[in-house]
């Protein structure tokens, strides 16, 4: 059997196929079919010849096999420093071999590559900082994932994830109606406490167009409400688009580049339709990376920039605090040791290390902020990046990966961790569930709301 019903080389494009794949609990049939999936070597080699440019070629060729990247990888560190976790080894033994063999590899080999690409690398790009040659395994694993995806060798959850994006243009089955309903519902609920609060949908020419992560309307609608409260208090002229509001990209983790492009284009279309002065994304790292850092390239924007300035939530929040649009009541600042998770996807990948700390300078009583070691662009992945968090068959490996963050947090002595990234937030929650080290974790929005010094006229009138 060259291709299965669930496990095949065709992306999920229809609702039926999506439901069918979803109903295969844990991907039992899917992985069974994968054992019989044929590798299309010609297509594989063809893709490599077309897309492997000098950067990747050179990286594969000049790697000095010096092993300096080993220690840089947190997965190497937490897995007993086994040599199989050396970044250079991981990529040479997978992508390196596929290239050497000109795509003539078999099913078992591809399955090994799949396991390596999704359970031994979170594409955190840390090793690239420590390789003297500037070889970035995170980038190369992203590339390898694309090749594997096109051949059908992708974990069940990510096949579904990118299918969700293809069918619903959201990482979960949130339709346009669901989203609009959620916004209206949240506006109504919140209005009681915040008179005059609105969640304006599809308002043209606003100052800000806000986009988010589908998990918010689906599982944490209060996050949407919190964003609304902060924009409301800050007096922003803002809007959300009814279409093109979802900025995450499981397709990026899956290596489904066609789908990545389609999703980002959808967001950019909303920008072009509503003409906001700028766009602001929620507290999510990979969503930011997908729409702002990589997205412009997927959609072919030669300047590498989104259609309007598009910033991460931490940038907006820092600005609002700096300019006094939001004021913090100093008596309500955090007065306990608190640490910060630097998300790879906007700190290492977009340098937003200082703005994040600027926010802390407003909301944490001086002396209580404790840096992780190492921090900023040298910080380690939370342990669940690159899709790792969501892949069932790699759960044991993921739990192992969480240990690095656990050690780092324990070393700070803090019980509170600020994680302005959905995925990091999830990983830290799971880490507490798994290891019970007694910590709490939070996004910035709820923390800031609790500390706001709200102007009189925005408060509800007491009868």
């Amino acid at each position: 059997m060259p291709e299965g019903i669930l496990c095949n080389k065709t992306p999920i494009n229809t609702d039926e196929q999506l439901k069918l794949t979803l109903s295969d609990k844990g991907g039992k049939q899917y992985y069974e079919e994968m054992n019989h999936l044929e590798v299309d070597s010609d297509k594989l080699w063809g893709a490599i010849q077309k897309t492997m440019k000098s950067r990747t070629k050179t990286w594969l060729e000049i790697c000095a096999h010096c092993g300096l990247c080993a220690e840089s990888c947190f997965l190497y560190q937490v897995n007993g420093r086994v040599p199989e976790q050396v970044p250079s080894y991981k990529i040479q033994s997978t992508l390196g071999v596929i290239v050497k063999k000109k795509g003539k590899v078999d099913n078992a080999f591809m399955q090994m590559c799949m396991e390596t690409a999704w359970s031994k690398c979170t594409c955190c790009n840390r090793c690239g900082m420590y390789c003297p040659h500037g070889i970035d395994m995170g980038v190369m694993f992203g590339y390898l994932r694309g090749l594997l995806y096109s051949q059908g060798f992708v974990p069940w959850e990510l096949k579904i994830g990118s299918g969700m994006h293809r069918v619903y243009r959201a990482q979960m089955d949130v339709t346009t109606e669901d989203w609009v309903d959620t916004c209206e519902w949240m506006a109504e609920e919140t209005e009681e406490e915040w008179p005059g609060l609105e969640i304006p949908i599809d308002k043209e020419d606003a100052d800000i167009m806000y986009t988010c992560n589908a998990r918010e309307p689906k599982h944490y609608p209060e996050d949407v409400a919190e964003a609304a409260i902060l924009f409301h208090v800050a007096g922003e002229n803002w809007t959300v688009p009814s279409e093109g509001w979802e900025q995450t990209s499981l397709s990026m983790f899956a290596g489904d580049w066609e789908c990545c492009k389609d999703n980002v284009q959808n967001v950019y279309d909303a920008i072009e339709r509503l003409r906001p002065k700028r766009a602001i994304g929620t507290e999510c790292g990979h969503a930011h990376r997908a729409t702002v850092i990589e997205g412009p390239y997927w959609t072919g924007r030669p300047d590498g920039q989104p259609p309007v300035p598009y910033i991460h939530y931490v940038e907006w929040l820092a600005e609002a605090l700096r300019t006094g649009k939001l004021k913090i009541d100093p008596t309500k600042r955090i007065k306990e040791p608190v640490t910060l998770q630097d998300s790879c996807n906007y700190v290492r990948n977009q340098g937003l290390k200082d703005v994040t700390r600027e926010i802390l300078s407003y909301i944490v009583e001086p002396g209580y902020f404790v840096e992780m070691a190492p921090a900023k662009e040298h910080n380690y992945c939370c342990g669940g990046g690159g899709g790792f968090n969501g892949i069932g068959i790699y759960r044991p490996q993921r739990n192992m990966a969480l240990r690095k963050k656990m050690e780092q947090i324990i070393d700070t002595g803090c019980k509170l961790v600020i994680a302005p990234c959905h995925n990091c937030w999830d990983a830290i929650r799971d880490l507490e569930e798994e290891y019970e080290i007694g910590i709490r974790w939070s996004f910035l929005k709820p923390l800031v709301i609790k500390m706001l010094d709200v102007p009189e006229h925005l408060l509800p009138k007491d009868e």
Partner: protein, 225 residues
């Protein structure tokens, strides 16, 4: 034989070696692809250059990048090896005598003592590189026969050169061996991993441009390499 090796053969070697490296550098740049690499090189050239230079400097200055600081032992050996490798042949007195005979100009030369020390450093450094490949599992697993071969090719001119210099055995034989091994090394430069002599700069530059343009540089946030 000597005349041939230091005459036409040397010319051919230089031509192939330096010409080849140049070709590789040019091909590297031509093979970049802004969309597939996801770096808008051209429109943001200024940011890119800045990031690229920072990235190169961080890694050619000892102890500048964090990598060099967290592994001081390796760093010392690594730099000693590379400095010996580059400086010795260029500024060696004997080489410059040849240079002035052939082209009528020469470079400043190193005192014999310094040249000796550099050459020995290089050998010892090479030895350490081999030993750590054997000793550390994380390096052993990625080491291949090819890696050893390249080290041998690289240190051969130094071994033969030192033997000739101390006039152990047949001087003429070792001199010949020295010249041949040196030419082999030069000829290997563009065709093997030794091409990192220039490709290091290209790759470092590229990643630096990436960081300088989209991964923080344009946000005014420099990468602390």
């Amino acid at each position: 034989m000597y005349d041939f090796l230091t005459g036409p053969m040397l010319w051919v070697t230089f031509l192939v070696s330096f010409g080849g490296l140049l070709v590789r550098a040019v091909m590297y740049v031509r093979g970049l692809h802004w969309q597939l690499d996801r770096v808008a090189y051209r429109p943001n050239m200024k940011y890119g250059m800045r990031g690229g230079l920072r990235s190169i400097l961080a890694f050619i200055i000892p102890f500048k990048a964090r990598l060099w600081r967290v592994r001081p032992g390796f760093t010392i050996i690594f730099f000693a090896f590379h400095i010996g490798l580059l400086v010795t042949p260029i500024f060696l007195e004997a080489h410059n005598v040849m240079l002035s005979k052939a082209f009528g100009f020469s470079l400043p030369t190193l005192p014999t003592m310094v040249a000796d020390v550099l050459a020995w450093t290089c050998l010892v450094g090479g030895l350490f590189m081999v030993l750590r490949r054997i000793a550390f599992p994380e390096v052993r697993i990625i080491t291949t026969f090819y890696d050893y071969l390249l080290i041998v090719i690289t240190v051969m001119p130094f071994i033969t050169g030192l033997i000739a210099r101390y006039e152990m055995g047949d001087y003429n034989f070792w001199l010949m061996a020295h010249i041949i091994s040196g030419e082999i090394w030069l000829l290997c430069l563009p065709f093997t991993k030794l091409s990192h002599a220039v490709l290091f700069f290209m790759s470092r530059m590229q990643l630096g441009m990436d960081y300088g343009i989209k991964r923080g540089g344009m946000k005014g946030s420099d990468m602390a390499w």
